[in-house]
Amino acid sequence: MSSDLATEVNPASLANDERKSLDAYVETAFDLLYRSADHHYRWTLAGMTWALTGDSLGLERYVLPSLGSDIQLVDGPPAPGTYHIHCVDSGATRHRIHPPQCTSEGDNETDDARRIWLNDNVRVAYQVRADILMLADISRGRALVQVPSLIDLPYYEQAKPIRDVFHWFMSGAGLHLLHAAVIGREDAGVLLPGRSGSGKSSVALAGLMAGMHYVGDDMVLVDQANSPRAYGLYTTVNVVRADLHHGLPVTARILNSNGPPSDKAVFRLHPEPYGFRSGIPLKALLVPCIGGSTMSIEPCSGARALSSLAPSTLMQMAGEREQLFAQCARLARQLPAFILHTGPRTERYPEDISYTINLLLDEIT
């Protein structure tokens, strides 16, 4: 198979009578799409060093800004030991591979479906609507991301790019991407779990505007090797459009200004807030509950916090859900859990959020 074939290729069809293994599929995909790099983008997060290669213009405009500002352009190919992600703009290169053939009932899923294939060493995820294919070879620390156009990436992919690949590699290193927000101060923070619309983003953004340390509003990286510590991965925040009049950090840049009113507005924060990359030790789970007559905090069970954290986290991630659920449960056992009744939204909302959460942290630390 020529590696410069300028057409659509379906590695899964190569085997004909003898269906190829997923390992062979991924190997073929790397043979077809991987190109050696004379430079790469490198950054370190929670002790893991990453390298990104691919179309520089697309990466610089649409992927790297959501990953933070501490990414360096480095001459030469990625060094051994780094986790290497190679991004392919199939529209520009005219090299494209199909997702694995699926002969199961999953073929009948709607266009919104995300499909996942996995074995001990290989992970493949295909987002049908966005036509984004991600493959990872875990043991060799390398991954491929194929998009139809880096320039035309959907805003939600720009907001949280390559998250499946991060999830696959990081979970093997004891780090877990959780669907939650984290705010606090240098020595202590709270993790705010909850499905979309639960209020975690508005609470996190209010804390940010009041000067609190901020790790993330929607997806954070949690290291549970010792005492749990959360790190920021994406610089984006999601805001209900009706809340935009409450104000934003002045340096935020909107990604989807023309989006429908039902979609949250997505912003990139620049520069990163305090705590974003350095991380914050987690001291409590704080389940946001919008409403109530006043802002208040009350204890709740670990099971209540787990019910807020685990289902939406598992929904966000591609595969390895049993392991992810176990980590969510571990966090719910480790940390005290509380419910935050946000009360009415007043002019002093950010200050009240900061005061209330700091009061909680004072009491439990």
Binding site: S104, R115, G319
Partner: protein, 156 residues
């Protein structure tokens, strides 16, 4: 009260029940069970009694007799306890959380030891069902492959 003197008459096939770990993840934290069915996208909580029963099923499959025996060590059981448990198991089976399995040799019998601790009131198990994540989980079918080749539906 213990179950020592109770007599059980069953009109059902004797079987034991086990958690369907191929599609269910669960934890019991401080006596409260949190359960997610990865196939259906539904997640669940159980009241105290239900969580106790779920905790009994976590390490091993159990039959009705075994469950009654263990429950009798901490609860004052009503006369129709086996019917209550059978109904609960049927409900859990219908939600895809539990499956019937072969009777496992060596499982506890219904010969309970007389209890010494004060027994608590037995409130029938109640399963609360949450469906708000269902649509999201269902658009994310997971497939596994084996050495022979391409994807098959995710089943263990």
């Amino acid at each position: 009260m213990t179950i020592k003197n109770l007599t059980y008459e069953h009109d059902h096939e004797p079987s034991s029940y086990t958690i369907d770990r191929s599609v269910v993840v669960s934890e019991v934290i401080d006596g409260e069970a949190v359960i997610i069915n990865l196939d259906s996208g539904r997640y669940y909580s159980l009241n105290e009694t239900g969580s106790v029963i779920w905790g009994m099923l976590l390490p091993q499959s159990m039959d009705i007799h075994g469950l009654v025996r263990k429950l009798g060590e901490r609860y004052a059981l009503p006369q129709d306890i086996d019917g209550i448990l059978i109904n609960a198991m049927e409900h859990w089976i219908s939600e895809g959380l539990v499956v019937r399995s072969e009777l496992t040799p060596g499982l506890p019998t219904n010969q309970a030891e007389p209890g010494t601790a004060e027994l608590r009131e037995f409130i029938p198990p109640q399963l609360d069902i949450y469906t708000d994540m269902q649509d999201f989980l269902l658009v994310d079918p997971i497939h596994e492959v084996d050495v022979k080749g391409h994807p098959t539906p995710h089943r263990k």
